[in-house]
Amino acid sequence: MMTVYLKGGGLLREYLQPDVDEYTRRVEVAEGRTLRQILEAIGIRPVHVAMAFVGNRLVNLAYVPSDGETITLRPPVQGG
């Protein structure tokens, strides 16, 4: 198992249920899981994530996080 931190605001925050700080949730996951699998495991539909970042680097939902990594999630714009 490893720890991944998921960070998100806006509407996404209501789904994420942050427990570390106002925006961040700590998730324990098996190694090798994709971001999509992690989101689905905690009940977040992919539609609620438009973008994901590791630092400044844009990643997609097939990204496999490393232990201790923080992924910032960006919800859709709610009407651009």
């Binding site: 960070k7 998100g8 605001g9 806006g10 509407l11 925050r13 209501e14 789904y15 925006y23 539909r45 539609v47 609620h48 438009a50 973008m51 970042f53 400044n56 844009l58 910032t72 999630l73 960006r74 919800p75 859709p76 714009v77 709610q78 009407g79 651009g80």
Partner: protein, 639 residues
């Protein structure tokens, strides 16, 4: 003394040249707040029901609201309103940038134009000095060219709102441009302005707006700035703006492609936010008082074309002038964006109209001969540029597209109406509703026609089920009250939707600006519902009833299944649409004919409107008791 407002209004008769300045009535300000509220009330009270949108009796209303120019959580917006030549009902559209704040600094909360000028003019405002000036030298110029010329002639510190050739020629989806690439784009407000031969408004203001409690307002706003600077949405928002959502929209099967024939564009990768940032972005751009700076200022270089600069493309342009027209390179989309901005047409209805014409050409309903020897192929820039110029100059078949969907479809024949992706004459925003029924309902019922800014429901549709019809109408009603509220107070909705500036913080800011200590969120929401009902009544009084008959999209959206992509097979029927409309009218307390009931109108303080509707035989009859709370707050976890 009225706090938070400039305190004055201007009444300008363009036919006679008369200019009148008067104080803003504090009771009127409290009841309608500004922006879209002022627009709705003035148009309802002053425009005769049989008046032509292009006639002298129509009004052009220009109004920043209470937030504009004040030190609150964003205050950049300004509303432009008129009876719309697209819908023949109330029309309003907002623009960010710096124009609204500058009007407030000159001390004005409202400008109402009526009449038609005998020659091209622009309105010059320099604090108390207000003049109609000859605009012959600027007539024919593009919006950005006019802005640059007026700044050169008057001074860089003037803020300019201007129309282009499309508005001068009364193209019904013409917009008003400001700040080199921002637009009051929807409802054809630019067409009304151009039809009045009003080329531009130039304003410089040097006053301070009186505020009730500036120290506490500063404290509140600085606290919000500090908090939201750390918001996880802030950095990606600043980097990509709205353009990044092309990929997301495509992935979820709502991206309009080839005139909404399908909802997935397989070549989207070249027009997403990534290519925008990597290939054409020059710098970010912000509106007045904004720390998000989500605007993207881009440089477009295409072989054989002049190098041009454009603000954008935003998501809506990236969809409706992107995959919807078959363009797969960001430079092409940005060039079409620039062209629309320059001639002064809304990229949304404009993108829709171009795609509509493309599909007609694809199906053989429009010939090469009618296009002056040109073609109109998906993704062909030369074809599109030529077609836009035909429409703007009203040449040949362009004349009919310049008049809007109905005229074009009637002229083309052959069932072309099926391909007009619109409601009430307003081209659909960049989301297909077949895989998102509540989004389609939001388009169907929006007061100004198919526009996403009134309500946006794509994630809710996914949460509740993309094929679920029932149980969504109340949420649509609620969203139709909260989202347009930001256009009433002239605050940018994105602060609320994207970085969690709360609705209560907006209300607190209004109280600190105005001193209205008893002002509440409930009062604001009731105002929004009052505006919605007033606009509906206005629409019915102008167009007849029952209202229901106007609330359907073109047949594509209830007769054709999505043929490809993630939403493949998604299909709604006319019966589905009727179920949604029944629920929607019930949630509003309207009759099943889609007409507002006396009970609702009286509850909202619109007794006179109920009487007017009754006299016209347009009052809805309630078949069930009035819902105690109309609409329902969107609480996603509750579903």
């Amino acid at each position: 003394m009225l706090k938070g407002f400039g305190g004055r209004q201007l009444r300008i008769n363009l036919s006679t040249g008369e200019i009148r300045t008067s104080p803003l009535d504090p009771t009127f300000a409290r009841k309608w707040l500004g922006g879209r509220g002022f627009v709705a009330k003035i148009l309802y009270d002053e425009v005769p029901r049989n008046a032509d949108p292009f006639g002298p009796e129509n009004r052009l209303v220009v109004t920043p609201g209470v937030f504009s120019g004040n030190f609150g959580p964003s205050g950049s917006k300004c509303s432009f309103g008129a009876v719309s030549p697209l819908s023949n009902g109330e029309g309003d559209s907002t623009v960010g940038g710096h124009f609204g704040p500058e009007l407030k600094f000159a001390g004005y909360d409202l400008i109402v134009f009526q009449g038609i000028s005998p020659k091209p003019v622009y309105l010059f405002i320099d604090d108390d000095r207000v003049e109609l000036r000859d605009a012959s030298a600027y007539w024919g110029q593009g919006t950005m060219e006019t802005e640059a010329a007026l700044k050169r002639d008057l001074g860089e510190d003037f803020e300019i709102a201007a129309v282009g050739p499309a508005a001068e020629n009364r193209v019904v989806f013409a917009c008003i441009g400001h700040d080199y690439g921002r637009q009051a784009g929807r409802c054809g407000v630019g067409a009304v302005m151009g039809g009045k031969r009003l080329k531009a408004i130039a304003v410089r203001g040097t006053r301070s707006t009186p505020l009730h409690d500036l120290p506490t307002l500063k404290e509140l706003t600085l606290r919000i700035i500090k908090r939201t600077a750390q918001h996880p949405n802030m950095a990606p928002w600043q980097k990509y703006g709205t353009a990044m959502f092309v990929g997301w929209s495509n992935e979820h099967g709502v991206y309009p492609t080839h005139n909404f024939q399908t909802t997935y564009f397989d070549r989207y990768a070249g027009i997403d936010g990534g290519p925008l940032v990597e290939r054409i972005l020059v710098t970010n751009k912000a509106c007045f008082g904004c720390w998000m700076n989500c605007g993207k200022y881009s440089k477009v270089q295409i072989e054989g074309k002049d190098t041009v600069y454009v603000e954008g493309p935003e998501y809506e342009t990236g969809s409706l002038c992107g995959g919807n027209c078959g363009f797969d390179q960001i430079e092409q989309v940005a060039y079409v964006n620039w062209l629309c901005d320059t001639v002064g047409i809304d990229t949304m209805t404009g993108g829709n109209i171009i795609a509509f014409a493309m599909e007609c050409y694809e199906k053989g309903l429009i010939t090469r001969e009618q296009l002056e020897g040109h073609e109109l192929r998906w993704g062909n820039l030369e074809d599109v540029e030529h077609f836009i110029r035909m429409v703007v100059e009203r040449r040949g078949i362009g004349e009919y597209f310049a008049r809007g969907y109905q005229a074009a479809a009637a002229y083309i024949g052959g069932g072309a109406e099926r391909y007009t992706c619109q409601v009430k004459g307003q081209g659909m925003s960049g989301y297909d509703g077949r895989g998102a029924p509540a989004m389609l309902l939001a388009y169907m019922t929006a007061d100004i026609g198919a526009h996403h800014n009134r309500a946006w429901t794509i994630t809710m549709d996914e949460d509740l089920g993309k094929d679920v019809i029932r149980g969504k109408a109340k949420v649509v009603v609620h969203l139709q009250h909260i989202r347009p509220l930001f256009d009433t107070i002239s605050s940018c909705r994105l602060f609320w939707g994207e970085i969690d500036v709360t609705d209560q913080e907006h209300i607190d800011a209004i109280k600190l600006m105005t001193g209205w200590d008893d002002f509440t969120l409930e009062e604001a929401m009731r105002l929004s519902e009052r505006i919605w009902n007033l606009n509906r009544a206005h629409f019915l009084e102008r167009n007849g009833g029952p209202g229901r008959k106007f609330d359907y999209p073109n047949a594509r959206f209830y007769e054709e299944a999505v043929p490809s992509g993630p939403a493949k097979g998604a299909r709604l029927t006319l019966a589905d649409l009727d179920v949604m409309l029944d629920e929607y009218y019930a949630a509003r307390g309207w009759g099943l004919d889609g007409n507002p009931s006396r009970e609702v109108l009286e509850d909202l303080g619109l007794e006179d409107v109920a009487t007017n509707l009754e006299r016209a035989g347009l009052l809805g009859q309630l078949s069930a008791p009035l819902p105690p709370v109309r609409g329902e707050k969107y609480k996603p976890k509750a579903f």
